[in-house]
């Protein structure tokens, strides 16, 4: 008689036994006393026995499901997808190499931009301060010499509204 006053095990007892039997089925360790109790219940209780039989059946069905096989060209497809353009290096460059590549690109762009600016502009500190204006005018139809003349005149013109430019006075010249 179980705790509820009925013959046979209670639902809670069955559930506890089945939880242990699930572990035992997979070779998990369960303390010997609990394992013996669960096995005894499986041998004596038709509901527990039916559940175990159902587990066996469904496990066999699941295990019998055949697996998939990748097509012959699968590996090549994955490796090709790992390359940005299908020819270059794998996307998975190590971190150090990625950082080095990024630094090299940044340096190349900076140097290229700097060298592309005419040397006459780089040599003049005042004009250098206005390099952004120079870069702006370089994108216009103005001739190179016109831009230089205009900027030099503006930098050395005391009337020009250039508050951050120190305009040399006559005594300083």
């Amino acid at each position: 008689m179980n705790a509820a006053g009925h013959d046979g095990p209670s639902d809670a007892e069955r559930a506890e036994a089945l939880a242990l039997l699930s572990l035992l089925r997979d070779g998990r360790s369960v303390d010997a006393q609990s394992a013996a109790r669960a096995r005894a219940l499986a041998a004596s209780d038709p509901e527990v026995a039916a559940m175990l039989a159902a587990w066996e059946r469904q496990a066999a069905l699941l295990a019998g499901e055949p697996g998939l096989h990748a097509p012959a060209d699968f590996t090549e497809r994955v490796l090709a997808a790992a390359r940005p353009d299908g020819r270059g290096e794998l996307l998975t460059l190590p971190v150090a190499r990625r950082l080095a590549l990024a630094a090299a690109l940044l340096l190349a762009v900076t140097l290229g931009w700097s060298l592309a600016r005419p040397g006459t502009l780089r040599a003049d500190p005042d004009l250098q301060r206005h390099r952004h204006a120079v870069d702006h005018f370089r994108a216009t139809p103005f001739a190179h010499d016109d831009i230089l003349r205009g900027l030099r005149g503006r930098v050395h013109d005391p009337e020009a509204n250039l508050p951050h430019v120190v305009v040399p006075t006559g005594s300083q010249r």
Binding site: A19, S22, M51, L68, L93
Partner: protein, 185 residues
Amino acid sequence: MRDDEKALVARLRAGDETAYREVVDAYRDRLLTVISRVAGAGADAEDLAQDAFLKAFGAIGRFDGRSALFTWLYRIAINTARDWHDHRRRRPTVPLEGADGPLVDPVADDAGPEHAAIAREERAAVRRALARLPEPFRTTLVLREMEGLAYEDIAEALDVSIGTVESRIFRARCKLRVLLEEELP
């Protein structure tokens, strides 16, 4: 992690393409299979498996070696399949779990046409029942009963405790029994 696996991981981190080839060749069938089982019918398992490999290659620098490489790959594959599955559930215009569709063509049965027909029906029924099994029970049971993973590996792959795996497998077995009886009276 075994020494040979450590060496393989080092080669992967160094960008050695032959190492990537080794990994794909070694695990492509297993990843393809587990993805198809977790994502369910209707998924393009090949695309998802490719995606999983690319994610793994991209993240190899973050692989800490505390688990086996294949467990780590499984985790990425499972997450890829689950993401796809969740995305599809949010978009109901895509056909629901096509449990009638076999994962692969069933193997021919030599025991006669009647036996083959019953076996086919049972296989179809278990697929339908499995498809109806809610997450996370389905993935956990797939990893145990179909992939044969140990509890420890399942816990690693799903990032849960061993106790959670034990509980999920037990409950999944009980739920699947009910579903299978409905599918296969």
